[in-house]
Subunit: 209 residues, 2 copies
Amino acid sequence: MSSALEKAYDFIKSAIMTGTYQAGDRIKEEWVAEQIGVSRTPIRNAMQKLAAQGFVVVSHHQGGRVANWSSEDLREITELRALLESFGAGIAARKISQDELGALRDLASGMEACARNPTAEDFARITDLNSQFHMAIVEASGNRRLAEVIGNLAHPLLVQRKFSTFDEARLARSMAHHRELIDALAAGKGDWASAIMRAHILASSNADE
Amino acid sequence: MSSALEKAYDFIKSAIMTGTYQAGDRIKEEWVAEQIGVSRTPIRNAMQKLAAQGFVVVSHHQGGRVANWSSEDLREITELRALLESFGAGIAARKISQDELGALRDLASGMEACARNPTAEDFARITDLNSQFHMAIVEASGNRRLAEVIGNLAHPLLVQRKFSTFDEARLARSMAHHRELIDALAAGKGDWASAIMRAHILASSNADE
DNA sequence: CTCTCCATTTTTGTATCCAATACAGATTTA
DNA sequence: TAAATCTGTATTGGATACAAAAATGGAGAG
């Protein structure tokens, strides 16, 4: 039983993530309302939620637009993710369970399978698995608020769908980072996990300079 | 020209911050609507915004309640603030202007004046100046998103109004930290600023163990 | 052909209305 | 008397209606 607000929230967020809505696009309430078969009211509530999280900006009498991140914004976000996720990885190394490690290994395998001869669909799947991978590590840290803050930070890789611009070498390096992260976590080495996570995030954002 | 939504948002947030609403209190839409003279609609939008930022929790058909932070939550938040604010202070040391330093000195002086023989009002004023002081440093880092993330993290000192529980020695130490922070920033020493900021935040949260 | 201004159309912001749900107090039953 | 259920009321969630602001498009002037 999901409320109209939840439906609206999920719909808009996923439309932004998948690129149905491009950065800067205006989000017309009526259109969204028709798509999911509810009135404008829950759409507007969802929009406020998304605005508070930075995914859309709403200005008075101009409604909501998909946030249009400048390269400066993306740099800031990347830096914050590097800070927060490496912090989380460091804690996770001391706490992670065998089950959680197993889940990470499965996710890594899944990404590797997609990365062999990637089609457009494979890239989408990698993007999805990758964000699951990152969130799993943060959650293993046990700091729920950290997970929340990171979850609410727009993910440049998601927003820009950058994986598809990765060449073979970059993709391979990214996959190697995942495995190294798992090893560091399994070994309980917080410093190592923290460092490789930081490198992983900074490396993946290196394309647009 | 502030919209009804903005009025509602500010009203509720400040009611939480100042303690008009205690943690766990139910926030009745109708009541807020009457207070500021608008209908329930903008109240509900504001509530979603506040929910996304973690200040209130809304559950289906039970409306909004002021978030009830557990001591675990407050520990998590403190840890995050220590991480984020020390990061910000480190960057700020390399960028801060003379004007911004002057503003910090004024805020420090203001707090010191209040701290001499503090009444209840003085404590409230210290709380206010203190959060201005912290935000000024974050803003001096130039990372707008960092400022946003920190601004949306509930401030345990604000929520619990902890300053009033500080004894003279703790208050004096806190004031000394502020001066040391200013010196570190003025000297352009990022590491120093970062370290003293971290100590400052962790010291101020040490009461409730 | 382009620019500007005004009328029209869209779209948003807020209020109000109705339906769905939760909570509390009363009533019944064991 | 205590527990369970029922019923009434309060409150939220969502839909609709209407007003106000902004976008749009076209006519006319340069």
